[in-house]
């Protein structure tokens, strides 16, 4: 049923798009027809150079994501278990958190230079916040009854963390991880655009300045598809780690 609904939605969107092209609300060289974009997409997907650029962006995002998640959890845990750390860092977290990734690129280039390390820095900087704040809140929010249960059955401090606090916190930490995955991809593309010599974002702007509009549409579509791919990856990871919670949510919704 859901697939039928999705097929209808897709058909509607493409139809409206095509009607917009026929109506010539925007000159066709700036709003290409769906079929033109599909042809451009096919060209990009079969071009080894273009696909290498797409893969680079994905791999950098993945590397940044893999670095961000453990770091964010570790810092969030530290802040939760040592409240002095959290209080001391709070002005800094409040100051840095709202900075858009693009805004820190100049400073990063001055201090770090170009290359993979720049990507890793920008992605981590942008994506760490949801992981950090969700971990902090999750660890600080274990309920009394659960903690007492752990104590009552003889959990030591470390056993309490391992057997009660961590499993209880994981669903909320995964909320942060899921947001971090999309932010990591955004960070990777944005760094391509402003400081890259390769990658999807670089390619996108290169084609845009050359006014190869169908390519721009196709590459933008690829950006979105990458996001879907990343999301599916995180959902798979979540099912492996906290499958019980997925099942609980599904049954609560049913």
């Amino acid at each position: 049923m859901i697939w039928l609904h999705r097929a209808i939605a897709l058909t509607l969107i493409v139809t409206i798009w095509q009607i917009g092209v026929w109506a010539a609300l925007v000159p066709e060289r700036f709003l290409p027809a769906p079929w033109t974009v599909i042809q451009a997409l096919a060209r990009i997907l079969t071009s080894p150079d273009d696909m290498r650029a797409v893969a680079m962006t994905l791999l950098r995002a993945l590397a940044g994501f893999a670095l961000t998640v453990p770091l964010g959890i570790a810092l969030g845990a530290l802040a939760a278990f040592v409240p002095q750390v959290e209080r001391a860092l709070r002005p800094w977290t409040e100051l840095l958190r709202p900075l858009p990734p693009a805004a820190i690129i100049p400073i990063s280039i001055f201090t770090i230079g170009f290359g993979l390390k720049l990507y890793l820095f920008i992605i981590t900087f942008a994506a760490i916040w949801p992981v950090y704040f969700n971990t902090l809140a999750a660890f600080a929010g274990t309920n009394d009854v659960l903690m007492r249960t752990g104590h009552a059955f003889g959990c030591s401090r470390t056993a309490l963390v391992r057997e009660i606090v961590l499993p209880h916190a994981l669903p909320q930490i995964f909320i942060g991880i899921r947001i971090a995955a999309s932010v990591a991809l955004i960070g990777s593309v944005v760094t391509d655009i402003f400081a890259g010599q390769t990658g999807l974002g670089y390619l996108l702007f290169e084609r845009a300045f050359a006014l190869r509009v169908p390519d721009v549409f196709a590459l933008t579509l690829i950006c979105g598809l990458n996001g879907m791919l990343f999301n599916q990856m995180v959902l798979l990871l979540r099912r492996l780690v906290i499958g019980w919670h997925d099942q609980m949510m599904a049954e609560a919704a049913a």
């Binding site: 309920n143 009854v145 659960l146 007492r148 249960t149 104590h151 009552a152 059955f153 003889g154 959990c155 056993a159 057997e163 009660i164 499993p167 209880h168 994981l170 906290i242 019980w244 919670h245 099942q247 609980m248 049954e251």
Partner: protein, 285 residues
């Protein structure tokens, strides 16, 4: 004062044996909360429980019953006085052999573990048996609380009454001698409650559990207990001990209609009502 209840109840069958050391003993336990405005919750609670007894604790609302139970279990350190279990202080935390069943089963069971996993969690301090034997025991316990076939379900997939059964099985799985029950049936519906009362009595007998039941339901206290401790308003003290000399096994219809049951119920309810009206605190009766 102990004899008053005994007379009301007819013959006394569960006199604590002075030759046997108590399994659980509270000695003038005091506890206050707050830093600027101090609320004295426990005002010197003393009583003891002999092995095999079923003791019910009742009192006016908000008198500190849960605080008392936490102090008895070693989860909350008293300001003054001491609690000992099997002759040793519980100051170091809940000792092996003592298990607690919380009112809030939905938050006390671990949602990431199956019912079987939760019962196995209760055995984490049991280390003289193999993992396979543990599983076997846990399955047997779940069977004896009527959860045969629900071992692989998660707690959130079964009803409230069933969740509390898992929590009871988890307590006993720790090889407990003493079960501390903190209003375990307050959150289940009335029909399930009567059924669960009988289940608890049966389980306590089958597994040789000494029980301390904290409840706000006076009829439940009488129905379940060998002895009732009535607490005063805050700061709580034991104002009366009443022996419940009703024959066992108890019966939801016969026992509840018997004259001794009604007499004890009357005594406890009048006492609690008088405290509520008078707002009296734990002055000795």
């Amino acid at each position: 004062m102990w004899m008053e209840g005994a007379m009301a109840a007819g013959s006394v069958t569960n006199l604590p044996n002075p030759n046997r050391p108590p399994l659980l003993a509270a000695d003038t336990v005091t506890k206050s909360f707050g830093t600027t405005s101090i609320t004295e919750v426990l005002g010197g609670v003393s009583f003891s429980v002999t092995e095999g007894e079923f003791v019910s604790v009742v009192g006016p609302s908000g008198c500190g019953k849960t605080t008392l139970l936490l102090a008895l279990s070693g989860l909350l350190r008293p300001d003054g006085g001491d609690v000992s279990f099997a002759g040793a202080s519980v100051r170091g935390g809940t000792p092996p052999g003592l298990a607690i069943v919380f009112q809030d089963y939905s938050r006390s069971l671990l949602p990431w573990k199956t019912n079987l996993g939760n019962v196995l969690f209760g055995m984490r301090r049991v280390n003289d048996v193999s993992a396979a034997q543990k599983t076997e025991r846990a399955m047997a316990l779940l069977d004896s609380v009527g959860l045969n076939g629900f071992e692989r379900h998660y707690p959130w997939q079964v009803s409230g009454g069933m969740q509390q059964r898992v929590a009871i099985a988890r307590g006993i799985a720790s090889q407990s001698r003493l079960l501390l029950l903190d209003e375990p049936l307050a959150a289940v519906d009335a029909q399930t409650r009567a059924e669960m009362q009988d289940l608890l009595l049966g389980i306590a007998k089958q597994y040789g559990q000494t029980c301390v039941l904290v409840t706000h339901d006076v009829e439940e206290a009488v129905y379940m207990g060998d002895r009732i401790l009535v607490l005063s308003n805050r700061p709580a003290r034991v104002v009366r001990e009443i022996a419940v000399a009703l024959p066992r096994p108890r019966d939801q219809i016969e026992t509840r209609e018997s004259a001794p049951f009604l007499a004890i119920r009357h005594e406890v309810l009048s006492l609690i009502r008088s405290m509520r009206r008078g707002g009296a605190t734990g002055a000795a009766p």
